[in-house]
């Protein structure tokens, strides 16, 4: 039996944020990011011996075009038990997402043709500025952080990417682009800022993949 939850209260909000981070990781890229616009409906099901399952109806927006929104349903299962297992997330997006092939190819070719590996830091700066050339790098970090967020979320956490401290391109012989990121995540409930290192692979046709991620010590 599923219990109806107020969409604006934190249990639904946290599950919705997690679902969005995961979904953004699966569908996003340097040319596309999806953010949570609204929680339409939320229900919770307590499954004995398994965990808590949230059923969500969400509205997502394209971060590069706020007027472009899409509906989505998602299920988030937080597992019971002391050993932390990443929550299970399933989602269905209604309708088509905007095609980003052109922007993706431009970015891909630009990076591929760089003589020296790209290195950048402090994105955004203190004033929230991101230079136009680094926008795709910032968006890629935001999308990839969805993986780290997904892997580390519980019903008592709500993560967002706070800052990209450093990013370094790693040249590859195959068709993928590889970036080594050091990011700061903001966890809302504890208000902590947590450094994380992640290795991110991307290809216009294969999407984003985080191949390695490790939490860093605070100082």
């Amino acid at each position: 039996a599923a219990m109806e939850l107020p969409p604006s209260h934190y249990p639904a909000a946290r599950a919705a944020a997690l679902a969005t981070s995961y979904l953004c990781y699966r569908r996003g890229g340097p040319g596309r990011g999806l953010a949570l616009r609204d929680v339409r409906r939320a229900r919770r099901q307590d499954i004995d011996g398994v965990g808590h399952k949230y059923h969500l109806e969400l509205v997502l927006e394209d971060v590069l075009d706020k007027d472009s929104t899409v509906n989505c349903t998602a299920e988030v299962l937080y597992h019971l038990g002391n050993k932390h297992i990443a929550p299970d997330v399933q989602f269905t997006i209604e309708g088509e997402l905007k095609n980003t092939n052109e922007a993706d190819n431009i970015f891909y070719n630009r990076i591929k043709s760089l003589e020296k590996e790209l290195v950048a830091e402090n994105i955004p700066d203190s004033h929230g500025n991101v230079s136009p050339e680094l926008e795709p790098i910032h968006l890629l970090a935001w999308v990839a952080s969805g993986y780290v967020i997904w892997q580390n979320s519980t019903e008592n956490t709500k993560f967002q990417l706070a800052h990209v401290k450093h990013v370094k391109q790693v040249k590859r012989s195959d068709e993928y682009l590889e970036f080594d990121y050091t990011i700061l995540l903001h966890e809302m409930v504890s208000q902590e800022i947590i450094p994380w290192q992640m290795t991110v692979l991307w290809h216009p046709r294969h999407g984003v993949r985080v191949t390695q991620a490790s939490r860093q010590p605070k100082h």
Binding site: P6, S8, H9, Y10, A13, A17, G33, A35, L36, R37, D38, V63, P124, D125, S126, H127, G128, N129, V130, W142, Q160, L161, A162, H163, L184, H186, M188, V189, S190, Q191, E192, I193
Partner: protein, 419 residues
């Protein structure tokens, strides 16, 4: 040594000058160990008064040498006679300093009037404190500046008072920047102070409010933290007080109030971002407000402004039980966020702290509410996490513009519902 002989014949008597007119910085590259040694010896000649800005470390790597005007001839002759290659990196150090000073003075001068203050960018503590003085100067019959105390590091805690007279009128309290890293809030504080001053006598609602009530606005509620976000760590949240027995600094000023102090909605660990402090009101920044509001005795509303999450919250945070005025506060919040959304479509959620965001003890508005201030609200401004604390400065004015009608809704309601 031959080198010293060369110097003593070529050296002119130097008279020490305060300015750096004609001084140069030379970029020198030693090609081998022998030249490297010669360079080091050059640097050690006291009478030349040269100074390496970048030291010679190994052959092939450039060293930068500041040379006072009077030593230029002997130094260049020395380098040339030893075939050590160099180039002139800075031709006249004084000219460079003059240029820099001119640019800095120019940008400071343009901000001396409230009309030319750039509300669309983030400012330092000094810039904001200076601007507050110009606001008072521009509106002497409406705005005054009060000092309510000092921070841990002895910075002044300033509050702007908006008043058209009377004595101890009912008042509305607003604060921004209690959490240092929430930069959009201090920026909104400045914009809103300017807006209130501008609209008195123009906007009917602002005029009605200020004809009966006073408004107090503390823009930089946590100056030590704010200074730290500029100098060292942009993501610093807490105060900068030293914690006995710990290397970790700071107390969460929004967990330090005496309302449900010390429960699970705050931390006992000084290294935590939600550390409550050794006891309630331990922080000077918090105690100053507690004393001010208590002594005033006639504050009818406390609005504490934070970021981010896009929420409008009211008590309680420290307990699940609804506040006695839950329904009225909820209705008012609903109206305020609706008017906020009408501007640019920015969606806010609203409700009690404990329902909407998390359990939190010792918060500003819970203390205010439990001490008789019925209309106590917390805003969590833009955004919902895309930029978070690092909100682009281009969003300052839109955020301020959309939040203003929501603030007005609350202030008008306070005016129309005296208690």
């Amino acid at each position: 040594m031959k080198i010293l002989l060369v110097f003593s014949t070529l050296l002119a008597v130097t008279c020490s000058e305060q300015l750096f007119v004609g001084d140069q910085v030379l970029r020198i590259t030693a090609s081998d160990q022998e030249q490297l040694t010669l360079l080091r010896v050059l640097g050690e000649q006291e009478e030349l008064q040269v100074d390496f800005w970048r030291h010679p470390t190994s052959p092939g790597h450039a060293a930068d040498l500041w040379v006072p005007f009077s030593s230029l001839q002997p130094v260049k002759t020395f380098l040339e006679s030893n075939s050590i290659s160099y180039s002139i990196m800075i031709e006249d150090v004084q000219a460079l300093l003059d240029e820099e000073k001119k640019t800095m003075t120019k940008s400071r001068r343009t901000e001396r009037s409230t009309n030319t203050f750039d509300f669309a960018s983030y400012h330092t503590i000094d810039e904001i404190y200076d601007w507050m003085d110009t606001l008072v100067n521009d509106h002497p019959n409406l705005v005054s500046k009060i000092q309510i105390g000092q921070s841990f590091e002895n910075r002044s805690l300033y509050v702007l008072k908006f008043s058209t007279g009377g004595w101890n009128r009912s008042a509305i309290w607003l604060d921004t920047g209690i959490h240092a890293r929430e930069w959009v809030t201090q920026a909104i504080g400045v914009w809103t102070a300017n807006k209130i001053a501008k609209e008195y006598g123009q906007d009917p609602s602002v005029t009605a409010i200020l004809d009966s009530m006073d408004i107090f606005l503390e823009i930089i509620t946590n100056p030590d933290g704010f200074a730290f976000t500029h100098s060292s760590n942009r993501l610093w949240r807490k105060t900068r007080s030293i914690n006995a027995g710990s290397h970790c600094v700071g107390v969460d000023p929004n967990r330090n109030w005496d309302a449900g102090f010390g429960g699970s909605g705050s931390s006992s660990n000084p290294c935590s971002e939600t550390y409550r402090g050794p006891y309630a009101h331990s922080e000077r920044e918090v105690k100053a407000i507690v004393d001010f509001i208590s002594d005033h005795g006639n504050v009818k509303s406390v609005i504490s402004i934070h970021s981010y999450s896009q929420m409008l919250l009211f008590p309680y945070g420290y307990k699940r039980a609804p506040a006695p005025h839950h329904q009225e506060l909820n209705e008012l919040a609903k109206k305020a966020v609706s008017d906020l959304a009408a501007m640019y479509g920015t969606k806010y959620t609203y409700g009690s702290i404990v329902d909407t965001i998390y359990i939190a003890d010792g918060t500003t508005i819970d203390w205010a509410y439990d001490n008789g201030v019925k209309y106590s609200f917390t805003f969590e401004l833009r955004d919902t996490g895309r930029y978070g604390f690092l909100l682009p400065s281009t969003q300052i004015i839109p955020t301020a513009t959309e939040t203003w009608p929501a603030l007005l809704d609350i202030m008008i309601h306070v005016l129309e519902h005296p208690y």
